[in-house]
Every structure is written in C-alpha cells, then in structure tokens.
Amino acid sequence: MQPQSALSQPSWRSHLRALWMIAVNNWKHHWRYPLNAVSDMLQPLVWLAPVYFMGQAFSVNGKAEGFAGFAGTDDYMSYILLGTALTNFIMAVFWGMGFSLKWDMDGGVLEANWTAPLPRPLILVGRTLSSLATTTLTSLGMILIGALVWGFHPTGNVLSAVLVTIPLLIGLYGFGFAFAALVMILREANTLVDSGSFIVMLLSGANFPVTVLPRWLLPLSLALPLTYGFDAVRGYLLKTRTLLPLNVEIAILLVSMVLMIVIGLRAFYALERRVRQLGTVGQY
C-alpha cells in the first residue's frame, strides 16, 4: 500500500515562487489600467499647484524667506515635492495595502487564495513588493514632471536619503498589514481610510515643518515615526534644519520599523483569525 501524501508540498522555494507570482500579478494589474497609473502621477501635481502659487504669494523674488525661518531652506518647492513623493507611499499603504484584501473579497477570490498552502501574510508581502515598485516609479515620474515645471534642487546626499527611506517604508508597510486586516473585518471603511490617510499626512509634515503646528497638535506629530522619516530624508537631501540630530532620527526609524512589523503581523493574525471565526471571509 502506498503511503498517503498531500498533493501540496510547500517549501521555501515554493513560497518564493508564490511570492513572485503575487507580485507579478499585482504589477500587471496596476499597469493594465495605464490611465490610472498616469492619473496617480499627475494627481499629486494638481494638488501642488495651489501650494506653489500660495508660495509665490508669500515670496519675494522667488525666495520664501519666511519659510526659511522655519525650515532652514528657502527652496520651498523642492521641500514640497519631496514631501509629496513620500506621501505617495502613505497613500499606497492606506488605499492600496489597506484595501488589498477587501478587493480580493469583492472579486470573490479571497476565500480561494486563503485555502492555498501559503502563509497568509505572504499574500500581503507580495503586494507590498509590487506596491513599492509601482509607487517608486510613479513618485519618480511625479518628481521629474514637478522638476520640469517648478524645479527640484537636491543639494545634499542622495544615497543617504535613499537609505533612510528603507526603514521608513518597511515600518510603514508593517503598519499596512494591520490596517489591511482591519479593513477586512470592517469591510466598509472608506471614511476611515480617507480621513486616516489625510490626518497622518498632515501630522507627519508632508507639506510644512511640523514646528508650525499648534502646541496641542505637536505632540501627536512627534509621536509618529513618519515625522522623523520625512525630516531625516529632507535633512540629507535638501540640508534642511532637522528636529533632532540625524543619527537619533535614524535610530527612531530603525526601532519603529521593528515595532511596526511585529505589531502589524500580530494584529494581522489576530484579526484574520477573528474573520475566520465569524465566517465572513467570503462576504462583502
């Protein structure tokens, strides 16, 4: 008699293959709608137009002297463009990662995917890879167009700035794990996502130095690791005045990266278990 064996034989190699396929699937899905991809690139620029003209209304001979008093640079548009490029990742995590499982739910494929012999967070890791790639490309395109229209003058160390974004983004996507599971359990979370992303963007100082925030808001801003990420990237690339010494900001980012991944994964497992207990994986 032949011994019974499962048809699936999961190994680290099969997991890697699955990871690759998930990433490729999402990559194809993103570029399948090229107009949406172009819109992702141009939309932030539309939002920047009033910011640019407002900067002009406060500037003399193109120099934002008042702004320099807070930020340590009068290159207002470079400051804003960089902040907006990093904001694209916040939006990708909130809307892309947050809604990724919900879209699978709506598409009716979540239950089928859930039965695959894969660790479930791997599905989100695959999405993270493609989201990182597509958002990086869109942000670079946005900076390029923004540079042509308004100018972009990085005077600092590009490599250091890129290295700083790594713990920043890993931590951000770690948070995305928990958020995706939360959206999966809530199912209808547009208001939560819309206002949540806007508040995080506002408090992390995407468009202004957080030192201009009122006293009652500043502690909330300083409690967000993203604030130090934005600050450090600008400090390296534009030589702006930073909130804390750069090595302290990097230490905060590294610690928060580890914490966010651990918290994100734990929250994901807990919420995912709850959804299975409720039996609502296939409902939307």
């Binding site: 819109s39 900067g55 206002s195 130095p209």
Partner: protein, 293 residues
C-alpha cells in the same frame, strides 16, 4: 370568446400629470434624497472632520510661509490686499469643497440610480425626468450651508479666526452661485450616465478649479494667460465675491459685477444642463442602454 370595448367606454390613463402632481413628485424626490443623506451616519463625521481637515494643509503651509517673524505676510498683503491669509484660504477652500462634493453627489445622482437599478423604473413614471436630476440639488445645497456653518464655528474655536462679514452680501453670493454650480452639476450628471466610469472627469474638473480659481492665493500671482482663463470660470467669481463679503464686509454694490456675471453663467449652465440631459436621455432610450452599467 371575443372581448370588445363598448362604444360608450373610452380608455383613460390612470396617471393624471398635472402641475401639482409634478410638484408633489418633486417634493418626494427631495425627501428621498434627504433620507439617503441621513441614512448613513458617516455624514456626521464628514461634517465635523472635513471643514477643518481639508484646509489644514494649506493653513499650516501658510503659517510656515509667513515665517516666525511674519516676514511673508507683508508680501501677501501686497498681492492679496489683506493680511488675513487664514480667512482668505478658508473661504477659497470652502468653495472648492462645494464644487468637489457637488461633482461627487449631484454629478453622480443619475449614475447612483443606474447602479441601484432604479433609474429605468423611475423614468417609467409619468414624472418629468429632469425633476429626478433637479431633485438632487436642494438637499446638497442645504447640506453645504451646514458645512459652511461648521467651518465658521470650527475655525473660530481652533484658530480664533474672525470674519468681518456682510451676511446679506454673503447670502446673495450663495444664491447667485447656485444656478452656475448646479447647472454644471446637471450637465456633468447627464454626461456621467453615458460615460459610466467618470472618476477621471471629476478629477479633471475639480483639478481645473484647484489650479485656476485661486483657492489659496490671489490670481495676481498667476501668469496672465492663467488669469484670463480663471475669469471665465464661475468658482473664481464665487471665491472673489465671497472673500469680499466675508472678510471685507463688502456691500452688495461692490460685489454686484461678479454677481451679475455669475447669474449670466448660471443661465448658460442651466440651459446647457437641460439640453445635455434631454439629448442624453433620448440617446439612452434609443440605444436601450439605461439599465447597463
């Protein structure tokens, strides 16, 4: 067995479409829109959060641009004619929010019915079809008045913002803006049921308002060609007149030129909205595409 109609009996339709019946139907449509609005309690959150959250980015940016010693304010005073940049931005962004929510609500009114599968059955009733579109306007307009009220209260509490408003002029601006904005909304709504996927159109229209209409800055800082384009857009006139009425206590005479132009634009957009609706409705019935989405 044969069934014949006796010569003395004449067929009459059960529906009797009179002016009063149309008016009752219009009231029912508005009531339905109101029920839809209050049915989803997230509107309360939206009313509390968005009046302050949306302008906040621009406001904190303006604080940063003004500088710790207020050096930027001198320049702003030169180009804008007021140093109340906070009020200046709040008025501009509130009008933008009006246009934005108008496009998503009134602009998608018919599309929403199409998605719910009620468009066809509603259009079979002996009610003027344009009333279904017109009925989406009043509830939105009243909700925007509430939105403006929330904006004033919240900015008073959190930013100690004071307005030097002429309420009569402000009300006149609001009323003069209605035909132009809602005419645009009706035109948009008619096009949406044909295009079906219209998010990109919303992004385009609200993007134009955002770039050209001076929501956070005076038009004088834009290149001349952009200023010329801006003068043709109703939101530019609404923002300019509303700023004068809300911040400078401008009388009706001061804002009258903008109001007259707004009313002229209003007549144009309402007529265009009606014509577009008639054409699209006829086309949709001929093609039998009303229930498709």
């Amino acid at each position: 067995m044969e069934t014949t109609l006796s010569s003395g009996t004449h067929l009459t339709s059960l529906s009797r479409t009179t002016g009063l019946a149309q008016l009752r139907a219009f009231g029912a449509i508005i009531w339905r829109e109101y029920l839809h609005f209050v049915r989803y309690p997230t509107w309360v959150i939206a009313f509390i959060i968005w009046p302050i959250l949306f302008p906040a980015t621009y406001i904190f940016s303006s604080f940063a641009l003004a500088g710790p010693s207020g050096v930027g304010v001198t320049r702003f005073l030169e180009v804008a004619g007021t140093d109340n940049f906070l009020g200046y931005i709040v008025v501009g962004t509130s009008v933008w929010m009006w246009a934005n929510t108008l496009l998503w609500n009134v602009g998608f009114a018919l599309r929403g019915e199409q998605m719910r599968g009620t468009l066809e059955s509603n259009w079979m009733t002996p009610t003027s079809r344009f009333l279904f579109l017109l009925g989406s306007g009043p509830v939105h307009a009243v909700s925007m008045l509430m939105f403006f009220l929330f904006t004033v209260v919240e900015f008073r509490i959190f930013f100690h913002l004071t307005f030097n408003a002429n309420l009569f002029s402000l009300l006149a601006v609001f009323l003069a803006a209605l035909p132009a904005l809602y005419g645009l909304g009706f035109t948009f709504a008619s096009l949406v049921i044909t295009a079906r996927e219209a998010n990109a159109f919303v992004f385009l229209v609200r993007g134009i308002v955002m770039i050209f209409c001076g929501i956070t800055y005076p038009l004088a800082v834009m290149p001349p060609w952009m200023q010329a384009v801006a003068e043709w857009l109703p939101p530019t006139l609404i923002i300019r007149a509303a700023r004068l009425a809300a911040l400078n206590h401008a009388s009706l005479e001061v804002i009258a030129p903008d109001l007259v132009r707004l009313l002229a634009y209003g007549a144009f957009w309402l007529a265009l909205g009606y014509l577009t609706f008639s054409q699209i409705e006829r086309r949709a019935r001929l093609k039998g595409a009303l229930n498709q989405y």
